[in-house]
Symmetry: C2
């Protein structure tokens, strides 16, 4: 995303300036490690672009931007424990490199650091805190729903959408809403830009599920079909279940216990093609993208202010499906 490289590297520079003490080493070393293994920094960039959308210099929203990014990193550290994930962005997760206790406490500390950044943000602090807290509550609820759904057989598509809305999309909405609050935007504009972020987030998450099975492995950077092998309840799987004939359903169930990974992925893809899963999921993604655009159209600022945010959302959603 070259056109936003200036924003990303500004975020990186400011992240490095956050004061992380030396001691206790066992608490702060994992935090330093985790912040440095990177990530796309998509959320703080959204806050900065949101500030510019409403006519502010991006520097005016930097503390809120960092708060969102730090909060996101807190959720990753704790989610990785709960999901027993060994790797994050190709690096060992905190609970593996150290241990669970260290991951719990350094995650807690990161959450507090997020609030410490928010405390430094100019603007209506009560509104900022309200928006941030509401989203934080929802993210925890989404994580719990995600864990609950792994144990459940019957998960409807609307359950799934609600889960990813809470677990991942609301934070994109919040990243933008904070900028609107800082800029003293109208309540309507706050709502529209929040919704824009949530819809982009939903489209993006659906695309993630699609890419896992249908991406060009050379461009995607990892082997496709990981979700299929892990029997994950992705939107593809749920759409397949909902649209399968009895016979196709039997086949789908049989495939879940197939031990040969390559064969499993190949046959699942074939079955999904029969059922038309790819088109249905792409339609769904485009539907949310359309809703996002509609929300952006309603934001009452000059069109030229909307260019970058529209560009970034288009870019995000054209990753080689």
């Amino acid at each position: 995303m070259e056109f936003i490289a200036a924003y990303t590297s500004y975020v990186e520079r400011e992240l490095k300036k956050i004061s992380i003490p030396d001691l206790p080493l066992t608490l702060y070393d994992p935090i330093r490690y985790f912040l440095q293994i990177g990530g796309k920094r998509m959320r703080p960039v959204l806050t900065l672009l949101g500030a510019e959308l409403f006519g502010l210099e991006k520097e005016r929203a930097i503390h809120a931007a960092l708060a969102v990014e730090i909060f996101h990193n807190f959720t990753l550290i704790h989610d990785d424990i709960m999901d027993a994930a060994p790797l994050r962005r190709g690096y060992e997760t905190v609970h593996i490199k150290w241990n669970s206790n260290t991951a719990i406490l350094s995650g807690d500390m990161l959450m507090i650091k997020a609030y410490q950044l928010l405390e430094q943000q100019e603007g209506n602090l009560r509104l900022l805190l309200e928006a941030f807290n509401k989203t934080s509550v929802e993210i925890c609820e989404g994580q719990q729903m995600d864990m609950d759904y792994q144990e459940r057989t019957a998960v409807s598509i609307s359950d799934y959408i609600e889960m990813i809305r809470l677990k991942t999309s609301v934070l994109l909405g919040c990243a933008l809403e904070l900028a609107a609050i800082i800029a003293n935007a109208s309540e309507d504009d706050r709502k529209h830009i929040y919704n824009f972020g949530v819809y982009v987030g939903l489209a993006f998450q659906i695309q993630d599920d699609i890419l896992d099975l249908y991406a060009d492995p050379d461009k995607f950077g990892k082997q496709t079909g990981g979700d299929v092998i892990a029997n994950k309840k992705t939107i593809l799987y749920l759409l397949a279940r909902e649209n399968a004939s009895d016979e196709q359903l039997k086949k789908l169930n049989a495939l879940s216990i197939e031990q040969n990974g390559q064969l499993k992925v190949h046959e699942t893809r074939q079955l999904f093609d029969e059922i038309g899963v790819k088109n249905k999921s792409v339609d769904m993604m485009n539907h949310y993208f359309f809703l996002a655009q509609q929300e952006m159209n309603k934001v009452s600022v000059p069109d030229k202010n909307k260019l970058l945010l529209n560009q970034i959302s288009e870019y995000l959603l054209k990753r080689d499906v």
Copy 2:
């Protein structure tokens, strides 16, 4: 503590009013459970008494009081995981009754709820948030130091005091400081009442260590010597090490591997008496209590306003040593 029963039951009533949604059940059930198993509610009562100290009605500080109590409960849930504690206040801990993942996430949610309560508190929100965040950071540092010290042989008395200051005392200071902020007290008064809380907290924590070995078991409600059996590095143990002769030190080390619990407690008590540990630790407790009183003397409000807080601190520190 009958003279503060009205405060405690007010806190209980208001705690019950905090909206805890039904769903996801797996997230909110543990929170309901944990809030209902009780505790002394000492911290929120301090906030309410702090408000009255500075001439405000206690109702004006209720959200800050609840924020402190909820934050405290978050730390307990996570600490219980880290310490692998099976019981809390005689009830199963969350990670035992459910599992670690549930305890991690419901703890996270409680921390966010604390910030949600703070967001509703009238007063200078930026100052409230700054004080609250600073204390939250310190509590995590204290918990990490506590875990680090379990692994280390050489822990000095000043290390230990710093650890308990961070892990437990600063929250008492913060509970009072928030009240001072709400009441727009002067910066000096804020500092004095904060220090009062911290010193009372230190005295209280030292007393806890003393009671574990020297309390009357009938009044104490549990068998004495639990810390000795678990080889915990309490202030008694550290004072013993620092004041022991070579021979006494050898005996102390030998006792750490004694398998007979009753004998171990009996002989340790005898050894501590030889070294004069009880007097030294009571002196230390009284020293911090004296410092607390000095801070209270400096708070620039009429003496009659100080009665209840002085009474409560005296009460706390006269638990049958």
